[in-house]
Amino acid sequence: MRIELFILPFNIGLWFILVYCVARCIIWFRDLSRPDKLRLQRGFFGRAFVQSLREIFMESLLHRNIFRVNPVLGYMHMSLAFGWFLLIVFGTIEADIFGDSHLNPPHKAIFFRFYHPEPASGRVEIFFTFLMDLILAFILSGLLLAIIKRFRSKIAGLKKSARHTFTDRVALVSLWMIFPSRLLAESFTSAQYGSGGFLTGNLGAILVAIMPAQQMAIPFWWLYSISLGTFFILLPRTRYLHIPVELFLIFMRNSGIRTGDRSGTFSDVGIHSCSSCGICLNSCQMALSAGVTHMQPLYLHKEIRESREINGVAFNCLMCGRCEEICPVGLETTAIRMIQRREPLTGNDMLGIWKGFMRQAGATGNGKEIPANGFTDVSGTNGTSFSYLKKTPGRKSKVAFFAGCMTHLTPSVIRAMESIFREAGIDYTFIDREKGVCCGRPLMLAGQEKEARELINHNSFLIGESEARILVTPCPICYKVFSESYYSGLEVMHHSQYIDSLITSGRLRLKYTGRSVVWHDPCELGRGSGVYDEPRNVLRHIAQLCKSLEEKEMGLCCGGSLGNFKSGREVRRRITEDAAAILVSSGASTIATGCPLCKKTFTPASEIPVRDIAELVTDAFYTVSNASFVADLEPATMNIEK
């Protein structure tokens, strides 16, 4: 048995990456909480395992999700992943059938043509030679596409291409080198023995005319092996780590493990499964409209992987969730970002501040030790931030109405809702008519869970005291936190849902106004809470509904989002203008929305009027007396208690 020296780089790389992956998986498994460990064990012997295999085939090899987003990009990923997989599988089978012995070590299959250069004899062997060449041609076609895409990303339909680190680029080059060097090595060896398939045989015949095959073959086998070895060795430090880790992620997800509240193993696995494909970058309004291209999930994940300071990145995001909707790996990008926001400041953040402003104390070592977990409480002397809030319960009623901070900035929405209640003859109690308290969602988005919980407790008390069965809010931000984080037990409804139920039950009779409207899906209502149909039902009832270019799951953010703490007015203005332009291009005469924040943000940027769904509904009343223009004259604070 010949042992060739050139197999060494490949073998070193292969064993290194195998040991690394196994060790990593063991560490991740060890870090899992006990219930999650049990889930994983149960999943291994249950349906989850079969499901995972199917998903791994569809996503990790065929890249079905990328195909959906972009067929050219999908083909590129599929040819490299699926092609390489086929090459390994059929290469192993080929080596097993036609090699010297069965159950060969991996290098026998990878360098099969070197060990077995003789011309194929028999139909099966000829077929295999043909098949292997076909697969190689398949991979090379994808590789060609990848190289073109790297230099001209528009061809692959990408407006923005992801930036990669130096290590990533070295790994990328070694990945690119693998297949052409294999092609040339096989061609030269084939030329030497007069064997080979349609690709390697013919190419070899051409090359041998200008180059000496015998001398050229070995260097290219070396190159092939070195490319493989380099790629494997660099893998843990690059984005290509997603190749092995994604398999583990899919299995964990199918076993029922979800991105939790604290930075757990699953989000860590998710961060390492990010392939930096750049699809999130191409759906992000921060990048497309405002040209901010450093905070998208792929960069956040990279910064976390390399444990750099992420404060500026984590908080500079609209949290609209478009990237999560489109991510081919299915990462919960907003949840991962929320975990980063919630994390106590890391050592790196503190060093960043120290470096700039307090060099002396840091240098002399007079500073105290950094506390490992938590910091001294900054929430004032009382221990709680909002102890100043007084709990004064209001009137009791079946229906509670919570306007929210932003709705108080758009009093016309409150007036419209009040006239709708009156028109439908509903008795209700206004929870935050005066001295309202924030719902807690903005604090949650800032990662200040403890403070948010105080506000939630305060509001929960008031809502509980009202003894209401239904809580109606015209603000999607409030709606999301009410339905997710309040343990109140009552039915939470966005006002569009409530109006829809009033129409269905016949309590509210509306006429068709005939005006054309386009519905803007607020992020927190649409992607955030999955409410798409009810507002559309209401609008179809009273007006002609136009379709927007980007709607439902891919609806645009208005730019006013409370999720973003870092972006200033200019960035927001550009996002708002682009989003408004797309809504206006639908041809409607009015933009309808269900979010006071969106309404307020869009109004200065839109050429056509922006109205809340409740305002449009008041226009469609049969009885004139209750219509919104009358309601407009009434003071907002007027009490309608009977």
């Binding site: 402003f357 900054v378 004032g380 903005p442």
Partner: protein, 114 residues
């Protein structure tokens, strides 16, 4: 001074030399739009927390720029980050980032407590 019958009232004394401006510098670096504030008071007028207490972002900015970090430490926790002030600010000051930066920086400073 005493000849004219004037004395300095201790409570009204703002000693710019003694006060610690490092916090203001950090915030100014991380959120430069703070410099745009004209102290018009729109933020305070609309403030949700201001409806319950004397809290106002305008006052936060004032004590921040004066370097009165103890007052700031007491006041800053009252903000609910609801964002109404950002919507109303005529100068486009990114108010919520000021609050967030002050809170996070205070955490760091108090953690070190030098």
């Amino acid at each position: 001074m005493n000849r004219f019958g004037f004395t300095i009232t201790k409570g009204r004394l703002i000693d710019y030399d003694a006060n610690d401006h490092s916090l203001a510098e950090i915030v100014m670096e991380q959120e430069p739009s703070l410099a745009l504030c004209i102290a018009c008071g729109c933020c305070g007028a609309t403030c949700t927390a201001g409806g319950h207490t004397g809290f106002s972002l305008r006052r936060i900015n004032l004590s921040l720029k004066r370097g009165e970090n103890d007052t700031l430490r007491q006041e800053i926790a009252r903000c609910m980050l609801c964002g109404k002030c950002t919507m109303l600010c005529p100068m486009g000051v990114n108010t919520r980032n000021i609050i967030l930066t002050v809170r996070n920086t205070l955490k760091v400073l108090d953690g070190y407590a030098y």
